[in-house]
């Protein structure tokens, strides 16, 4: 019952819901997850949100998808890019948490790269989704994005004192199971984190959720507990995923988990309907269910703040 420990009061939760359309703000401060009083946040100039923009998370662009749920995924990605390019202070980098393409086709990757090149921010970090690795030889993603990781898929980097871990949990599926990190990757993470100060803010990103949201639909990672064991000594850990095309978040100790919206199409909430396929909604509703997550770095107290923005 870890939820009961959350300092998320009903009043604040309702406030967050009331402002849901404009984005919901959560701050991670000293390992404690605190919803920012949005009325107070609003008192600030809205063009100057709390903290400095650190990065924007784009997810599940599914370039190549053309079904009824969204016949124009290039257009909605374009709207997303307009939102990011319109941020008064540009973030340092962009993270794409996978399912860049729908079917791993070369033409889909080419179009995705062409569209993403319109971002004013040029530093792009990616991890593959399972839709990016469905080609029979699993080479299209790595031909384009493999350099950062020597073609392993997972890698790390630092920016503004924050340590980023880019992980892959879509390559070692077991039948009937969840996503898998695998012993090689976990050993690499252990070595990568060794000697790092517990006060270093850590951002972990991977395509599939690194906690079990809904096992019957494979919304989780089977060996994520071993990863979390390695992260537990750090005071501020932010775990960002995609895959489920909707926002779900929770806090466990010092770890904040958050999944981003897709820019392409929504999916049903866990367990509603036969499976996690595209959810058809009215045209006017669709932009409200698509969007990006921006993450600000707040220096005093040192924390990361997540802000979800819908296309409409």
């Amino acid at each position: 019952m870890s939820n009961e420990k959350l300092p998320l009061s009903r009043r604040n939760a309702l406030k967050c819901m009331a402002y849901g359309g404009a984005g919901t703000l959560f701050a991670l401060s000293g390992g404690v997850f605190t919803p920012i009083d949005l009325a107070m946040a609003r008192a600030y100039d809205e063009s100057k949100p709390l903290g400095t923009p650190l990065f924007v998370q784009i997810s599940d662009t599914h370039i190549g998808f053309n079904k009824e749920a969204n016949p124009d995924v290039g257009g909605t990605l374009g709207q997303t890019i307009d939102i990011v390019n319109g941020m008064p202070q540009q973030p340092a980098l962009i993270i794409h948490t996978g399912d860049i393409t729908h079917l791993s086709k070369p033409a889909e990757f080419d179009l995705a790269q062409q569209l993403l090149s319109r971002l004013r921010v040029t530093e792009l970090h990616t991890v593959p989704g399972e839709h990016d690795t469905t080609d029979a030889t699993v080479t299209e993603y790595f031909n384009r994005f493999g350099n950062a990781s020597d073609n392993r898929g997972y890698y790390s980097f630092d920016h503004a004192g924050v340590h980023f871990l880019a992980l892959v949990n879509v390559l070692q599926f077991k039948p009937g199971g969840l996503g898998t990190l695998g012993p090689d990757q976990l050993a690499w993470v252990a070595a990568d984190l060794k000697g790092r100060s517990p006060s270093t803010p850590i951002v972990v990103f991977a395509h599939m959720p690194l906690w079990t949201i809904y096992e019957p639909w494979g919304w989780g990672t089977g060996d994520a507990d071993q990863l979390l064991g390695l992260l537990r000594r750090f005071g501020s850990v932010t775990v960002l995923n995609g895959h489920i095309h909707q926002i779900v978040q929770k806090v466990e100790g010092n770890v904040t988990f958050h999944t981003a919206r897709s820019t392409a199409y929504p999916q049903p909430v866990a367990g509603e309907g036969p499976g996690p396929g595209p959810l058809k909604v009215a045209a006017g509703v669709l932009p409200k269910m698509l969007g990006v997550t921006s993450v600000n770095l707040v220096k005093h107290p040192r924390s990361l703040m997540l802000n979800d923005t819908a296309l409409a």
């Binding site: 079904k67 079917l103 399972e130 469905t134 029979a136 039948p175 494979g218 499976g275 396929g277």
Partner: protein, 113 residues
Amino acid sequence: MNLKNHRTLLALIGLAALGCAAAASMSAGAAEEPKVLIKDFLFTPLSLTVKAGTAVTWVNMDDEPHNVISDTGLFRSGGFDTNESFSHKFDKPGTYRITCSIHPRMVATIVVE
């Protein structure tokens, strides 16, 4: 949308016809290519028995792409979208576990005699 429903209907008719053909082939000995339907994130049938040397075809009827992978690494299809299909010929007798790597909870068995 009409077109899609139309295609779905045609595919269903096709499968119904195939069922008849498969039944007929029992006596006639004409080997009709068996199909596995992928719909609502399920393989139907969940278990299919064929003779060695038979090609099995998987047909995707979901709005979501699927692929077909043998858990022993014998074969791996690319992702295939709505109304697309993939075939694999099974030469050796045995029990083959099949999954979709995009949705790994989807599992099925092909028994080759």
